[in-house]
Amino acid sequence: MSSNTPSDKPSSALEISDLDVHYGPRRRRRQALRGVSLTVAPGETVGLIGETGSGKSTLARTVLGLVPATAGSIVVGGEDVTTYGRRRWRALRRRGVVQYVFQDPLRSLDPDLTVEESLSEPLLVRGVPRAEAAGRIRAHLDRVRLTEELLGRLPGALSGGQRQRVAVARALVTEPRVLILDEPVSALDSANRVQILEILKNLRADGVALVLISHDLGSVAGVADRIAVLYRGELVETGTAHDIVTNPQHPYTRLLLGSAPTLHGAPADRAERQALRALLHA
């Protein structure tokens, strides 16, 4: 079904089939992902929702080759990367097909490197000449609404929103086909949140496949075409954002929807949540 050479027009930008991932040495092996299957088409936005420890980041790290898969297959941009060794992974990464925006933008930018140095890294690693890299960085700044004066600053001298946009810009300089963003807006105020979501909408229009990882269904529901709900390493429900929000099937999804904090929680709501929790733990 899948081939090792990139096909001309892959129907899906990312295709994950029956993925299993285990952690730890043999005796204390723990399963982090079980039979996860997910497809993301070019230009599609998929929200990956789950609580802390559900395996969201592990899934992203496995797609990026940072964590090895135990079983199943991953096809990125038409290339089956499941059995890739270190060398082939490096070659794929240098082409910038798939990029990742880390959860914490402050820690994902080297504190000793200026914004320009961080942004140019993915290009310099590919062998792009320094002058050309500088030009390409500047071309992308506008896309993420950053100004040139920030290029000389260190990450510590940027605001939270600026840092997140620098992190997005770094992922974009290689023109990826798949962009995975881990909690892209959860640490931002509402103004910056809107700005980042606007940037993501434009990316979708450019045909980039987006995977938005979040623990907060509300922050993703408005931008995602489809939503996949991950619970204890398993995808328990996948559907359009509208269906998931209006007609959730799995008890965990219903619990997530009912968990939005409110000051006026009716006793009936609380009772329903307790019933759902009991159902999940049964």
Binding site: Y100, R107, D112
Partner: protein, 298 residues
């Protein structure tokens, strides 16, 4: 290169570099500058300083000043050899132990533990017996024995950043191990390594002289700073000032090394960059105040 430029932006860095340049010159030209034959004995033993013998003579009537100059090369090169061997043998596996898989990590850790457990002098004597006696062999052996310090320091500094998101971001961008070390790790590993290097250079002088005392490495009557200090200490009752010159040279060299290491640590990283920028801004403001006429200063 950036680190050197930043170190030179600090006053302490410039002082350290200047002092070490003088010491390097002394090491390079010392034996040529010695006014008398440093090995020639005379009947004027334990003489006080005079025009003929600026620092007096030792218990065999040899000119102390000439011996000090002549011994500078072997002392400086010996301690440098110890420090650089330790740096290469210790720091390189220390950095790589985090990246090259569990087998490499396990082997290097056990080797380091073994080196720490070995009795220093016994090991040195055994290796010299195998390789033959000579200053190079002695210093290489010493460097290997000191290397666990560099292994531990480099490994600890690398561990602190190797799993950080920005290193993973570089990996996701397709960066090679060499790139990650050059671009991300080096700036974090360098400051603690510089401090360890300065400390080891200081210890190196003492080690060179200790080994000389045992007849390993530098052979008597060839002079070294540490050797001069040791022999002068035996005649303190006759020449209480005699150990001052070699002690001062060792002290100044070690002090300059430590000053340089501190400067490297201060200018490294984000805080270091900010520190140098502040200093430069202050100098720039002072320059402007000097060039601006008094009435237009505001």
């Amino acid at each position: 290169m950036t680190v050197i430029r930043r170190v030179l932006a600090l006053t302490s860095g410039r002082i350290a570099v200047a002092v070490l340049a003088v010491i390097a010159l002394l090491a390079a030209l010392g034996p040529l500058l010695a006014p008398q034959n440093p090995l020639a004995t005379s009947v004027r033993t334990l003489a006080d300083p005079s025009a003929a013998h600026w620092l007096g003579t030792d218990y065999l009537g040899r000119d102390t000043f000439s011996r000090l100059l002549d011994g500078s090369r072997v002392s400086v090169l010996g301690s440098l050899e110890v420090a650089l061997t330790a740096l290469v043998v210790g720091a390189v596996p220390g950095i790589l132990s985090v990246h090259l898989g569990r087998a490499f990590e396990w082997v290097t850790l056990r080797l380091t533990d073994t080196l720490v457990a070995l009795p220093f002098l016994l090991f040195a004597v055994a290796v010299i017996a195998l390789l033959g006696n000579g200053i190079t062999q002695a210093m290489l052996v010493t460097g290997v024995l000191v290397s666990p310090l560099f292994y531990r320091v480099a490994r600890a500094a690398t561990l602190a950043v190797a799993r950080s998101p920005y290193v993973e971001a570089a990996i996701v961008s397709g960066a090679s191990l060499g790139w990650i070390v050059r671009r991300h790790l080096w700036a974090k590993v360098l400051p603690p390594l510089a401090v360890a290097l300065a400390q080891t250079i200081g210890t190196g002088f003492v080690i060179v002289s200790s080994l000389t005392f045992l007849g390993i490495g530098v052979q008597p009557p060839e002079p070294t700073w540490g050797g001069l200090l040791a022999s002068d200490l035996g005649y303190l009752a006759h020449q209480p000032w005699a150990p001052a010159a070699p002690a001062l040279l060792i002290m100044v060299t070690v002090w300059a090394c430590n000053l340089l290491a501190d400067a490297v640590r201060d200018v490294s990283g984000e805080a270091g960059r900010a520190l140098v920028d502040r200093r430069r801004a202050r100098v720039h403001r002072t320059d402007q105040a000097v060039t601006t006429p008094a009435g237009g200063a505001r």
